[in-house]
């Protein structure tokens, strides 16, 4: 079966250290993390990646009041991606535009807020907001985007834990290839820092990072790593079939080369390096590439003691020692773990490498854990690569969902 070639033509994002691809990339190359200390309800101050984009750039104040933070993040990213792709809401076919947004979870923030609100009224449920249902339906972030930009094609979320950002792009690729849509706005978003539950949950798992310097707390592969920094954020892309993008003279960031999604079927939270390796291997094979053709591996590693080692084990199994031009990095060391947005944001941080051939580093590695000492790790300082033709992006999630997405340099 001949599959349409799918290309990335626009990027819109918000991360703790950047509200545009240029700002984000600049900070990744300059070693600038921006993790904050944030007051978490019932728990006090905790480390978090907080975005500072202006929601009113693309929303009315009433939309912000009625909608959700995930909706605002999604709208900001979608509008910025369209603008970056030089597409306007008037120029696109609204009924042929799909919105596919990866989420780790949705609704916890809004539910917690309502419970807190009615606690002020003796838990009398007549004070429960009539907005609770539209705010908490699982399709909320995608639906808010469609309301804001007025597209009438399919708009929904894809729940895939922390693999969700990749899943947004993968599903969009499939929908474009099926001819269901002509333009896809896709990626992932997260509002997770606004729910105490995720902080409390990771704390109970002993998986929440702590460090006196917030910007040093997220430290994948370092011996002293002690867990996850939770972040909010979003990255949405415009994806098009190659012929459509070429016809309108679009800038092409890269081409979807291959992907794989599989499941561990082994544990609720513990990763399975065997299944991860299968996922990576299958994605490489589907791309028609060999492991040595992958020039950047952006790892999922979240800085948990065991998770990082297991991903390294999976990478080692596929790439071994025979890939001298394969560079390995990690974006969470700058921005923390943006949950449903993680895969999409981390890919964005690496896409400019096709142009500048620079690999952004994994920062905060003072003492590399020997169990994570993969050849090709780019530590603390950016590295100039001889060439960057293919980027492999890993994103894994709870309940054993694994995703690998490969994007290659666009060549006619």
């Amino acid at each position: 079966m001949s599959l349409s070639r799918i290309v990335i033509t626009g990027v819109g994002l918000t991360a703790p250290n950047g509200n545009s691809l240029a700002e984000f990339r600049g900070n990744l190359l300059s070693g600038v993390a921006r993790i904050a200390r944030m007051e978490i309800r019932y728990m006090g101050p905790h480390l978090a990646g907080v975005c500072n984009f202006d929601p009113l750039r693309h929303q009315k104040r009433k939309e912000v009041r009625v909608g959700t933070r995930a909706g605002s993040i999604g709208i900001y990213c979608a509008r910025e991606a369209l603008a970056d792709a030089r597409l306007s809401t008037d120029s696109i076919r609204r009924d042929r535009t799909g919105i596919f947004v990866g989420i780790t979870e949705h609704g916890n923030v809004e539910t917690e807020n309502e419970i807190y609100a009615i606690s002020k009224f003796g838990y009398d449920t007549k004070f429960w907001s009539h907005y609770h249902n539209p705010r908490t339906v699982a399709n909320n972030p995608a639906g808010e985007i469609s309301l804001n930009i007025g597209t009438t094609g399919p708009a929904y979320t894809i729940g895939a834990a922390c693999a969700a950002g990749n899943l947004g792009l993968i599903h969009a690729t499939q929908m474009l290839r099926l001819g269901e849509v002509d333009l896809a706005i896709c990626g992932g978003v997260s509002e997770s820092i606004h729910t105490f539950g995720i902080f409390a949950g990771f704390k109970s798992q002993n998986a929440l990072a702590h460090h006196e310097d917030p910007n040093r707390a997220s430290r994948p592969f370092d011996k002293a790593r002690n867990g996850i920094v939770i972040s909010e954020g979003g990255a949405l892309y415009t994806l098009e079939r190659l012929e459509d993008a070429v016809r309108r003279g679009a800038k092409i960031y890269g081409e979807i080369a291959g992907y794989c999604v599989n499941s561990d079927a082994s544990d609720y939270v513990l990763p399975n390096p065997g299944r991860q390796a299968e996922c990576v291997r299958e994605a490489v094979a589907r791309s028609g590439l060999l492991p040595r053709d992958i020039h950047i591996i952006n790892t999922h590693a979240t800085a948990t003691p065991m998770g990082d080692i297991q991903e390294c084990e999976a990478i080692r199994a596929v790439f071994g020692e025979g890939c001298p031009d394969t560079h390995i990095n990690n974006t969470k060391s700058f921005i923390g773990h943006a949950m449903g947005a993680a895969g999409a944001l981390e890919l964005a941080g690496n896409l400019p490498s096709f142009e500048d051939c620079v690999v952004h580093p994994t920062i905060n590695v003072d003492d590399l854990d020997p169990a994570c000492a993969l050849p090709g790790l780019v530590l603390n300082q950016p590295r100039k690569a001889e060439r960057v033709d293919a980027i492999l992006n890993n994103s894994f999630g709870m309940l054993g969902i694994n995703s690998t997405l490969i994007v290659r340099r666009f060549e006619r």
């Binding site: 009315k60 104040r61 009433k62 009041r65 007549k126 004070f127 907001s129 009539h130 907005y131």
Partner: protein, 87 residues
């Protein structure tokens, strides 16, 4: 409370739930929904905020009484005053 004071209370609520609207030209005798972007969920907001901020209950059958600022004043003033006399 006077009717004018009650109308100011309602205007304050409307200002919060419709922050993009210019309320300075609102005509007190014209239906609110005919003068501004106010959908059914916004309308429920007015009911909810009266409940939350002032302890005022508006049963569903009385929702039409909140159609204009004037009718809000007429309908709500006795409720505000009844509440004040209890406290």
């Amino acid at each position: 409370m006077t009717k004018d004071e009650v109308k100011q209370v309602v205007l304050g609520i409307i200002a919060d739930i419709a922050p993009d609207e210019d309320l300075s030209t609102l005509k007190p005798d014209v239906r609110l929904r005919d003068q501004m972007q106010l959908d059914s969920m916004d309308f429920l907001d007015i009911v909810m905020e009266l409940r939350k901020r002032h302890g005022i209950e508006v049963p569903e059958k009385d929702y039409p009484q909140l159609a204009t600022l004037d009718s809000c004043g007429d309908y709500l003033t006795p409720k505000f005053n009844a509440l004040a006399s209890k406290s």
